[in-house]
């Protein structure tokens, strides 16, 4: 297997999903793109099925909490044959909902369950939207920025030895 240059791979990605995604660029040797939630399923299945891309390897799916700007879901797929990574960033609307990717990647099930319990992001059509890590009766979404680490509420993180922030205490 020969590695395709990321620039060349990025051109192929643009040719295939250029009209579905924006800001296709190469950063740190990986191809990055922004996708609308409504189009993510089409984009991912195009990346997976196109013979010259063959991104059949779901590396991970993760949420990011941008507070006022809503949630972002990062979907990373990899092509084992072309040895290139495509990182798709999906900005979700106020309802924090996007369609499930389990139809394209069966492995998305666990990743989506994790993002669901950690951020409260909903995945439309998920076959088994149970909690993955947390107990059934756990309340709240721990990785949201407004979920404060219980121990930090009482005592700021004592590890900040840098003089400039010693007084500042911990971030939520």
């Amino acid at each position: 297997m020969e590695r395709v240059e990321p620039e060349e791979f990025s051109r192929r990605v643009s040719a295939k999903i250029g009209d579905l995604a924006t800001d296709v660029e190469v950063k740190y040797g990986h191809v990055w793109a922004k996708v609308d939630p409504a189009r993510i399923v089409d984009v991912v299945s195009a990346l997976k099925t196109a013979p010259d891309l063959a991104c059949g390897y779901l590396t991970f799916l993760a949420g990011v909490d941008w507070q006022e700007e809503g949630f972002e879901v990062v979907v990373t797929v990899y092509s084992v044959t072309n040895e290139n990574t495509v990182i798709l960033s999906v900005s979700l609307g106020a309802d924090a909902t996007m369609p499930t990717l389990t139809g394209v990647f069966r492995s998305a099930e666990w990743h989506e369950r994790e993002a669901h319990e950690m951020f409260g992001i909903n995945f439309d059509g998920h076959p088994n939207p149970e909690k993955l890590y947390l107990p059934e009766d756990f309340e709240g979404h721990p990785l949201r920025k407004d979920f404060r680490l219980a121990s930090r509420v009482f005592k700021p993180w004592p590890g900040a030895k840098d003089p400039s922030e010693a007084a500042g205490g911990g971030r939520a």
């Binding site: 590695r3 740190y28 993760a62 990011v64 990373t76 040895e83």
Partner: protein
């Protein structure tokens, strides 16, 4: 006594008969784990059994979820490498490397050559330590108690070399953004080389002990087949993916550190069964030993850490950095908002993806096969749960 032994009539009236009058067997749900010797750690597998045959298996994870991703957001970039080493506790150095790679790339820090060489040496020694552990424990799972003892004998010298350099035997905490915590002490090179030589002498023993053993073959050949397409779709990586015939190794695909300077091969299996996975593990130890040898021979002098500011303020941006952990592809997706702590740090751990494919592999297998499959999936529970 009479109540102990039911009469035939009572027995027949209580037994469940299916339509044609034959006895109907019932499926049994068996909870294996979280405390069970086969799941070394706290993985729980809920299996539905028909006799000894597994109808369905469902891994239940989360018994060791420690919220690493939340904790990352509380620590500054120097501290997160220490936290990373606690995810997969068998390969601390390999966990720390991609975290500091990400920071170095974002901050454009130049890492001295000596530090890069030492990182490779330690990562590969750590890989050997990890593989020795799993080759040994796989034998244990199949009822052979000797391989694990042999493995620990070989681990000892390499483990002391690591201890000599880092002061730790499990959580090394030695990699820093920009280089290493400190330079290795005098004698490290000799000790590491001695450990490698001892390992190279001992590997034929392992091969004789299990690979050539008929019972071992009967238990593993053709057991737990993992189809390469399924493996790729599930994001399976590391020795398990390579045993299925897919030659994906981050060290070759996207060389980090200076892996492109060393001569080593990627062992690839043919069938993707438990035997191949074990075989790949043994071969990888040989290749890692080769890398360590080359790196120790060519170890340049110089500084162990580059020009790093006292306060690590990482510029705004996002990055995805990955490395080949002994168990597979380990990567961190780091979002920085310009502070000295990550705004969001996602850890993509190999065991998580590797274990998610297990239900497909266990369907139709026997209970003893489950042990052979789980043992050859080489997982660390801390790496699944984070």
């Amino acid at each position: 006594m009479s109540s102990l032994i039911p009469t035939t009539d009572r027995w027949l009236s209580e037994a469940r008969l299916s339509g044609d009058g034959t006895l109907r067997t019932e499926e049994m749900v068996l909870n294996i784990g979280p405390q069970h010797p086969a799941t070394h750690g706290v993985l729980r597998v809920v299996v539905t059994l028909d006799g000894e045959k597994i109808v369905e298996a469902k891994p239940v994870i989360g018994y060791m979820h420690r919220g690493h991703e939340k904790l990352f957001e509380q620590r500054d970039f120097r501290q997160i490498t220490n936290l990373c080493s606690r995810m997969d506790w068998l390969s601390g150095i390999n966990n720390e490397i991609p975290a500091s790679l990400a920071v170095e790339r974002l901050m454009e820090i130049e890492v001295p050559r000596r530090a890069t060489f030492l990182r490779v040496i330690m990562a590969e020694i750590n890989r050997i330590l990890n593989h020795l552990m799993f080759t040994g424990s796989f034998g244990l799972e199949l009822g052979a108690t000797t391989p694990v003892m042999y493995a620990f004998r070989e681990r000892e010298l390499l483990q002391s070399a690591m201890e000599m350099a880092t002061g730790g035997r499990l959580h090394f905490g030695f990699i820093r953004p920009g280089g290493l915590k400190e330079d290795v002490p005098r004698g490290f090179v000799d000790l590491a080389l001695r450990g490698i030589r001892q390992l190279q002498r001992a590997i034929p023993d392992y091969e004789d002990l299990l690979i050539g053993n008929e019972i071992f073959k009967a238990r593993t050949v053709g057991v737990g087949l993992l189809d390469p397409d399924l493996a790729v779709e599930y994001g399976v990586s590391g020795p398990i993916l390579r045993a299925s015939g897919v030659p994906y190794d981050v060290r070759k695909a996207e060389p980090y550190l200076n892996y492109n300077e060393f001569d080593f091969n990627i062992p690839v299996g043919l069938h993707g069964d438990s035997f191949d996975r074990y075989w790949v593990l043994i071969q990888e130890m040989k290749e890692s030993a080769k890398i360590v040898e080359q790196a120790l021979m060519g170890l340049p002098s110089g500084s162990h850490i580059g020009q790093v500011p006292k306060r690590l303020t990482v510029p705004k941006g996002a990055i995805w950095a990955k490395a080949e952990n002994p168990l597979g592809e380990l990567g961190y997706y780091i979002v920085s908002d310009g502070d000295s702590r990550p705004y969001r740090m996602k850890a993509r751990t190999p065991s998580f993806s590797n274990i998610s494919v297990v239900p497909h592999m266990l369907r139709g297998a026997y209970v003893p096969d489950m042990v052979a499959v789980l043992g050859s999936m080489f997982f660390v529970v801390g790496d699944i749960d984070r």
